[in-house]
């Protein structure tokens, strides 16, 4: 799994590529803890993520709590249909705002 920070308009974008599971999830968590800046909404770009395990989904929820505390919006981008299905049936989906691509972000035309 690779993580990189990017930006799009006023959004800070965390680009993730590869599988997110218990083996990789701490790298993502550490990245989020060290790289997120106050004051800008956060987009988690997941287009290149084919699979997210239970631990991966739990980290999404941790990130959601964190952005709520920071008072900024969080958006998930490009969630694979299989991952979205798992999120729906397990109740994770309802906590997130999800967009197909960065271009669909509000205020990002």
């Amino acid at each position: 799994m690779d993580v990189a920070l990017d930006s799009f308009k006023n959004w800070q974008v965390i680009k993730v590529a590869g599988q997110v599971d218990s083996k990789t999830v701490s790298d993502l968590r550490d990245f989020i803890d060290s790289e997120l800046k106050q004051g800008h909404p956060v987009a988690l770009e997941l287009t290149e993520v084919p699979f997210m395990s239970s631990a991966g989904l739990r980290t999404l929820l941790t990130l959601q709590r964190k952005t709520t505390d920071m008072g900024v919006d969080l958006a998930l981008i490009g969630v694979a249909p299989e991952i979205a299905d798992t999120m729906k049936v397990t109740g994770f989906y309802q906590f997130f705002t999800i967009f197909e691509s960065l271009q669909n972000l509000p205020g990002a035309e």
């Binding site: 599971d21 218990s22 083996k23 395990s53 239970s54 631990a55 989904l57 739990r58 929820l61 299905d85 798992t86 729906k88 049936v89 397990t90 109740g91 994770f92 906590f95």
Partner: protein
């Protein structure tokens, strides 16, 4: 200030893993900073080895022999550090004597499932043939149990106000025509919540969801070659784990979250969740069955054994869990507390509950400690406890089940009497009158209430409602046992032809009989229970024991919702009617009734006069109470005529400020219910052959 523990450091290294002595409680796995605490009980075992696996590997990562000084009493506990919670699977090897005649069946080479495991892998997707070469079939895993409930808690609906809907998780939405995306799963039920809500039920009772193995005793049908399964799942593998194969996310091991999401979503719509739990036996069978967990941990503690070390079989399935042994009793308590606290479950229905009242040698106890513990448990205090008050060893305790003021019962006598009355048997009026008023003959003498009685006419065992009115005998050939399985005492009547027919007269009589059954059920005091699909005529083609069938025979056929829409609408209106009329839900036998009528009175073709004679087939019941907030009277009068000819009923007189309104009439098969009925001004009414009518008293409009 954050409290930092000074004991949270490894003291030893075993097989490459850093470990330290653990804590004996809680049993099973719990997380501690940096590691996991494992704890397992064995009274006759002589050593314990913790076996660790990676999810994707067949052979173990490590075998950690727990040092003897890590044991306190009969409990081995160990903390292991630096584990990958998500990838980890584990089990135990226990050494000890192999002396079956003494009750001991230890095998130190066999890896055993943790009896407290909260997640099980090995049957992750329904019906995928398992790898039988695997020696450790049901692998214990670690649950997160960190679900975000967002303020949800059990609903605590009054027992008397419940309308229960019994369903099988897979059958409910597996059919291609169910219209849901996640067919046959917990998530599929979520998709059907709007349907359940519209029907008006406020509790679902789920047939077994504790992890079981659909492949237990699976076989080919000798004639058809069809695969037969342990489909219903009345054979528990793991008491603390939800069935993975019922979860759309089971292949990712996320069944715990998916099941909790189901409970949360049902609760949002005011629907309680009751689990059908099977504590009378386990999937380990008798001496020829597999050693999955209990047999190898402490056979003599967990099972009722004959003096020669064979298994007592009060469950009819090979073994009997030794529920009144204090250790086993605690396991049952821990399990139910876990489901109640961690899954927000609202109630439990205990399969063959009478077994739970037997002593370790099988004799019925007058004061069974397990039943008492459950009744007075602090966490379960608002949980519904429902007994199937009989067992396969001949104990039948409907009316005498040790209740401690808490337990209710599946009222098998209600089912039997209602079925006899429906088909017009002689000598039924007296008993029917008892059943309609909540079975005081069974429950008043011992201080219990009408809602003690779970009233039902059909359940998963036996015919569906449509089959009850279409078959005289069972047709279980599809079960591959030459039609020898399943009950023969169906008390059913086919209305003139066995099974499928084109005869319009027979078909409409069947429809009417179905409506009659539902009308009687929903106007009786006690807690009514419906079987999934009965509201639109679900059939199993005469199979009264489809425990092994995973096919459209056992799956709910949702196309019937359209073709039998009238029956569905009728049921929906009837359920709504019950919710509207408090007088049908009075939960006291000594209720004073209303200003004008007793709480429950019986009538014949003439008011206040019942012909109780043997051949009489006409019974009316009038239920009444006052609404304290409006000072209006609530009164419902039900007139039932189970004779094959129409009969004139004089109606009970109302005080002048009220008029009767006819709300339901199964004799009018074109329009059997009225949404806004007009006042009924005649003094009596001709009740059609085999018909039931419901009137309600309405304030006269001036």
């Amino acid at each position: 200030m954050e409290l930092e523990r000074i004991d949270n450091i490894p003291t030893d290294t075993i097989d490459g893993y850093r470990v330290r002595p653990g804590k004996p409680l809680p049993f099973g796995v719990s997380s501690v900073p940096g590691g996991l605490n494992f704890s397992v009980y064995t009274s006759a075992g002589t050593s314990c080895t913790l076996v660790l696996y990676s999810r994707t590997e067949e052979s173990p990562l490590a075998e950690i022999r727990v040092p003897d000084y890590y044991r306190i009493g009969d409990v081995y506990s160990i903390v292991v550090y630096d584990l990958d919670y998500e990838d980890l699977e584990y089990g135990f090897k226990i050494d000890g004597p192999h002396e079956p005649e003494q009750g001991h069946r230890f095998d130190r080479t066999n890896v055993l499932m943790d009896p407290y495991a909260r997640v099980i892998s090995g049957r992750d997707e329904w019906g995928i043939e398992p790898n039988w070469d695997r020696s450790y079939q049901y692998r214990s895993r670690v649950a997160f149990d960190d679900f975000d409930w967002e303020g949800d808690s059990p609903l605590e609906i009054d027992d008397a106000d419940l309308v229960i809907y019994e369903l099988h998780v897979r059958s409910f939405t597996r059919n291609e025509n169910s219209g849901v995306k996640f067919k046959g799963t917990y998530a599929g039920i979520v998709e059907k919540i709007p349907y359940l809500k519209a029907l008006g039920i406020n509790a679902v009772e789920l047939m077994p969801v504790f992890e079981f193995d659909e492949f237990e005793n699976s076989r080919m049908h000798p004639d058809t070659g069809e695969k037969l399964y342990n489909y219903w799942g009345y054979s528990t593998v793991a008491f603390f784990a939800p069935k993975a194969g019922f979860a759309a996310s089971g292949k990712f091991g996320m069944q715990v979250d998916e099941f909790k999401q189901l409970v949360k979503e049902l609760h949002k719509e005011g629907i309680e969740v009751i689990l059908d739990v099977v504590f009378n036996h386990t999937a380990e069978g008798n001496e020829r069955g597999p050693s999955i967990s209990f047999k190898g941990l402490d056979n003599k503690i967990y099972y009722m054994l004959t003096p020669e070390g064979y298994y007592f079989n009060f469950s009819g399935t090979g073994n009997t869990l030794n529920c009144n042994n204090p250790v086993v009793r605690n396991l049952v308590l821990d399990c139910l507390r876990y489901w109640c606290a961690e899954y927000h479950i609202d109630g439990f229905r205990f399969d063959l509950a009478s077994i739970l009242g037997r002593d370790p040698w099988g004799a019925p106890l007058s004061n069974p400690p397990l039943l008492e513990s459950l009744a007075f448990d602090p966490i379960l205090s608002s949980c519904k406890l429902i007994a199937e008050a009989w067992d396969a060893g001949g104990l039948y305790q409907v009316g005498t089940f040790p209740a401690y003021g808490r337990w209710s019962e599946w009222n098998g006598k209600y089912r039997d009497t209602a079925r006899r009355y429906l088909k017009g048997d002689d000598d039924q009026l007296g008993e029917m009158a008892q059943r309609v008023q909540g079975s005081p003959d069974l429950y008043q003498w011992n201080g219990r209430s009408p809602a003690t009685s779970i009233n039902f006419i059909t359940c998963h065992d036996g015919f569906t409602l449509a089959d009850l009115v279409s078959f005289n005998g069972k047709h279980n050939e599809a079960n591959g046992e030459n039609n020898c399985d399943g009950g023969d005492d169906n008390l059913s009547w086919n209305c003139g032809a066995e099974g499928w027919t084109e005869d319009q007269g027979i078909k409409s009589l069947r429809m009417k009989q179905s409506m009659n059954a539902l009308t009687i059920l929903l106007t009786s005091r006690g807690t009514p229970m419906l079987l999934m699909g009965d509201e639109f005529g679900r059939s199993q083609h005469g199979n009264n024991n489809a425990y092994c069938i995973d096919s459209p025979v056992s799956w709910v056929d949702w196309s019937l919702l359209e073709s039998n829409h009238l029956l569905y609408d009728f049921t929906k209106n009837l359920v709504g009617f019950r919710h509207q009329h408090k007088c049908l839900r009075i939960n006291r036998f000594d209720d004073p009734g209303s200003k004008h009528f007793p709480s429950c009175s019986f009538h014949g073709t003439n008011p206040w006069q019942v012909n109780w004679s043997s051949e009489s087939k006409q019974l009316g019941w009038l239920m009444s109470c006052d609404d304290d907030s409006t000072s209006l009277m609530d009164a419902v009068y039900v007139a039932s005529n189970m004779a094959h000819y129409a009969t004139w009923f004089e109606l009970p007189s109302l005080p002048t400020e009220y008029v009767w309104k006819l709300c339901f009439n199964t004799g009018d098969i074109q329009s059997p219910f009225q949404q806004s009925p007009a006042p009924y001004l005649e003094s009596g009414i001709l009740v059609g052959d085999r018909s039931v009518l419901i009137f309600t008293a309405s304030p006269r409009e001036t």
